[in-house]
């Protein structure tokens, strides 16, 4: 894992040095070192599934070579189907058996098949490569290139899901081009990513556990606790996954290989459509190019577009995990995207943002953000019942807001800010699933970071621009502009140092959330 000291201070410098030295000896040296390092990474990650991953990659290589020689639709279909079957077997067999109605008699056996780490991502890379080869975009490629694309250690565990075409030309010669701007940008991405994961996500993670557990076990929950937990998870997931993606991009950049950006300030999005252009960008692109467009996209009428969106988002939900909660999460987003599509078909005279564009954008942002937060609740909940329980508490109107922020011994002294609305400051600890000032502080800091600070790629753009994922959005607040190079270097280095300190003092392991999808 990228956030382990052994990776940061042994594996990474060792591989980097070996790649540099190998580059001096032979043109293909760095690629061979990267291939060896990727195998070692895979082996260290999960020894029990190492052999499977190797066989799987070799099987796909055979399929890809055949496809390159005879690029037929049925062969491409067979490669894609084989990959989906493997994914389906590992991820969905248990879920299907537990969901299928069984006739009277003994129930279906409970099956829990342990999927190899990173399987969901390697399958998508294999499918992407097969379709690119079939379309002729990648008609010529080497075996080393292909295997490295599938197993490349910076993207092995959780992406970004780069296309074969994007990465392939860089893989064979990329490490030779590793230069100071690339190293500077790589270090910058690594520092920011480590900070996001270890300091921000690491401190937000425990803030949502209690409330979600209480909701799933029928425990008592308060309005403040439910919203506090939902927001904490919203930010945790973003910092965790975008931190991982930043680190993957940074590690790769150290070897001279550019990966596409995966996030672009998603919580500044003023619509769900915009959110999906900013959240897990490479997954959205994969689904759009390989599923939504082949299904007909928006070219076959409104009803068919609606169905296509729902199908794609339903599958997107299931890809994240085999469970009803993930499916509902995907369908919720699908419904919102469909509603967004319908709204865009409105007559020209219906233009609420015409006169007050900033206010309208702010309203749209609020609605979109709250929708995303509510959808994360079902994504995080252990069961649908648990999610319903959380939603119920979140929507229970109350005119008495109890905030557990008072000093010990504080009595319930109400403060009236609005007529009929009273705020009580209670001693901390009264609400067991709300962390008091500490939780409020982390949530406030998270809001400031996602709304007012630049994205990692914007922060480091001056060093070595990453392919821009698009503008930073319509959000009314303009992000803080990065200062001069010295400040940027010191701040990035400071974030890296803080991340390393958090890793050093961590008492429990904190795996990346997306690694289990």
């Amino acid at each position: 894992m990228f956030h382990e000291l052994s990776f940061l201070f042994l594996f990474l410098p060792g591989v980097w040095l070996a790649a540099r030295l190998a580059g001096l000896a032979h043109r293909l040296g760095p690629a061979l070192v990267l291939a060896g390092a990727s195998l070692l990474f895979c082996w260290l990650l999960d020894r029990s599934t190492f052999a499977f991953c190797c066989l799987y990659a070799l099987g796909n290589l055979a399929g890809a070579r055949l496809l390159a020689r005879r690029p037929s639709s049925w062969l491409a279909g067979a490669v894609v189907a084989a990959n989906i079957l493997v994914l389906g077997f590992y991820k969905y067999t248990g879920f299907l058996l537990s969901s299928l109605p069984h006739p009277a008699g003994p129930p279906w056996p409970h099956l829990e098949i342990l999927a190899p780490l990173g399987l969901s991502f390697i399958v998508f890379r294999a499918i992407s490569a097969a379709l690119e080869i079939k379309s002729g975009r990648m008609a010529r490629f080497g075996c080393l290139e292909y295997l490295l694309y599938l197993m490349y250690f910076p993207t092995f565990l959780a992406g970004p899901i780069a296309t074969f075409q994007e990465v392939s030309p860089q893989l064979e010669s990329g490490a030779n081009r590793s230069d100071w701007p690339g190293i500077a940008a790589g270090l910058g991405f690594l520092g920011v990513g480590l900070f996001k994961k270890m300091v921000l996500a690491g401190n937000l993670a425990p803030l949502s556990v209690g409330a979600f557990q209480a909701a799933s076990t029928g425990g008592a929950l308060h309005f403040v606790e439910a919203w506090g937990a939902a927001l904490a998870y919203t930010f945790e997931l973003y910092f965790d996954f975008s931190g991982y993606s930043d680190m993957a991009i940074g590690v790769s950049r150290l070897f001279g290989i550019r990966l596409p950006a995966n996030f672009n300030a998603p919580y500044r999005a003023a619509s769900i459509r915009e959110f999906w252009r900013r959240w897990h960008i490479t997954l959205s692109r994969f689904l759009r190019d390989n599923l939504y467009i082949p299904l007909g996209g928006n070219r076959k009428g409104t009803a068919r577009t609606f169905l296509n969106v729902m199908a794609v988002m339903g599958l997107c939900g299931l890809w994240h995990g085999a469970g009803w909660t993930f499916l509902v999460w995907g369908l919720l987003h699908g419904a919102c995207l469909a509603a967004d599509n319908l709204w865009r078909l409105r007559p020209a005279w219906l233009n609420p943002g015409g006169r007050f564009p900033r206010t309208w954008t702010l309203l749209c942002w609020t609605a979109s953000f709250l929708t995303v937060v509510l959808a994360w609740v079902v994504f995080r909940a252990a069961t649908l019942e648990g999610a319903m329980a959380m939603w119920k508490v979140m929507f229970t109107p109350t005119s008495n807001l109890f905030l557990p922020l008072g000093a010990p011994g504080t009595g319930p002294a109400p403060f009236e800010y609005l007529p009929g609305w009273r705020v009580f400051l209670l001693p901390e600890g009264i609400l067991p699933h709300f962390g008091g000032w500490s939780q409020l502080g982390w949530l406030g800091a998270s809001f400031c970071i996602v709304l007012a600070l630049p994205t990692t790629q914007a922060w480091l753009a001056a060093l070595d621009p990453v392919p821009a994922p698009g503008p930073e959005g319509e959000f009314p607040l303009r992000p803080w502009h990065p200062g001069p190079g010295t400040v940027r270097a010191l701040v990035s280095g400071g974030l890296f140092a803080a991340g390393v300190a958090a890793v050093w003092f961590a008492t429990t392991p904190s795996p990346f959330l997306y690694a289990r999808f």
């Binding site: 520092g191 010191l490 890296f496």
Partner: protein, 331 residues
């Protein structure tokens, strides 16, 4: 860009320097943020001080909390006429460290009685208790650990501990209650006040019920031969150290409530044989057998190895008899 890379690494270098400074400043300073650890630190401090103050030959009982709660050094002195000290502290510290602490108070002519809990025969655990206690004691013992364990030891000392320790070193507060005040002991290291006084009998019962069948708490079933684990080497080195100073070393089983279910396990008797063989190999006389260290359930406190006042008195009487029968030291 080279400048960027250098500046990028500057905060890390600064953080490492600050960390080293905090380590140096906080080393040997008590942790008072964690009550349980502070209690153990206080216990080790008091016992080290108390045992080193004794003049003349002494019998030193070495072990974890089973020894602390299981024996009465004062009563032992009364029965045998030998000056004794209860040096039982906490099994979480590991046998090598307990022996290292004992070395600090043993003098030529003394008798060291080893009563390690079974778990002490397995591995060197570098957990939070061990790390914080040794750090607070200012012990250099962890420096002898293999480097991955040394890293774990350092990582277990959290930033709050370091900051508090450094502040205490730079600005000592004279009126502050020290960890050594938390354990109440007699002049011979015996328990003077039980922590369980505040607990309800029902809580004892629940705790004992949970623990009594859990053999793994007490004996590691997968542990195999105790001679194959690092503490065996520490034991051998300790014996050699004692031999060089004319210190007599004896050993026995720790007091425990015996659950008959354990006897049904085939590996159990083999395991006990392994322990006795370990001492035989080092020429350390072993006192009594497993049955002689087993006591009825009603004599225990909240676990199956912490004896209550009556249990400790009975255990001490039994042990004094065993001791006198095996040695020629008693009057």
């Amino acid at each position: 860009m080279r400048r960027f890379c250098l500046l990028f690494l500057a905060p890390l270098a600064l953080a490492v320097a600050l960390y080293c400074a905090l380590l140096v400043l906080a080393f040997g300073q008590e942790v008072r943020g964690n009550q349980a650890i502070c209690w153990i630190v206080g216990l080790v401090q008091q016992k080290s001080r108390g045992a080193s103050l004794l003049e003349g030959r002494k019998v030193l009982f070495i072990g974890g909390s089973a020894t602390h709660y299981g024996l009465r050094a004062g009563l032992f002195t009364g029965r045998t006429g030998l000056q004794a000290y209860n040096f039982g502290t906490n099994a979480g510290l590991g046998l090598p460290y307990l022996l290292e602490e004992a070395k600090g108070v043993l003098k030529p002519g003394d008798v060291a009685v080893l009563l390690p809990e079974f778990i002490l025969y397995h591995g060197e655990t570098v957990d939070e208790v061990f790390s914080k206690v040794t750090f607070s004691r200012g012990s250099t013992f962890p420096l002898s650990l293999p480097w991955p364990k040394l890293v774990t030891w350092l990582r277990n000392i959290g930033p709050a501990h370091l900051l508090r320790g450094a502040l205490r070193r730079l600005a000592p507060r004279p009126g502050e209650v020290a960890c050594s005040d938390s354990a109440v002991l007699t002049a011979q290291g015996d328990v003077a006040r039980y922590f369980t006084e505040s607990l309800q009998p029902r809580e004892f019962q629940q705790s004992l019920d949970q623990a009594q069948h859990d053999l793994s708490l007490w004996i590691d079933p997968s542990g195999g031969d105790p001679a194959a684990h690092p503490p065996a080497r520490a034991l051998k080195a300790f014996k050699a150290w004692c031999d060089a100073r004319g210190i007599v070393v004896l050993a026995s089983y720790p007091n425990v409530y015996f659950d008959p279910e354990w006897a049904a396990r085939p590996s159990f008797h083999k395991y006990l044989e392994g322990i006795e063989a370990l001492y035989r190999a080092d020429n350390i006389p072993f006192l009594g057998d497993f049955a002689s260290a087993c006591y009825p359930r009603e004599l225990f406190l909240e676990t199956h190895y912490h004896l209550g006042p009556q249990g400790a008195a009975r255990r001490t009487e039994d042990f004094a008899r065993l001791f006198c029968a095996a040695t020629t030291l008693c009057r």
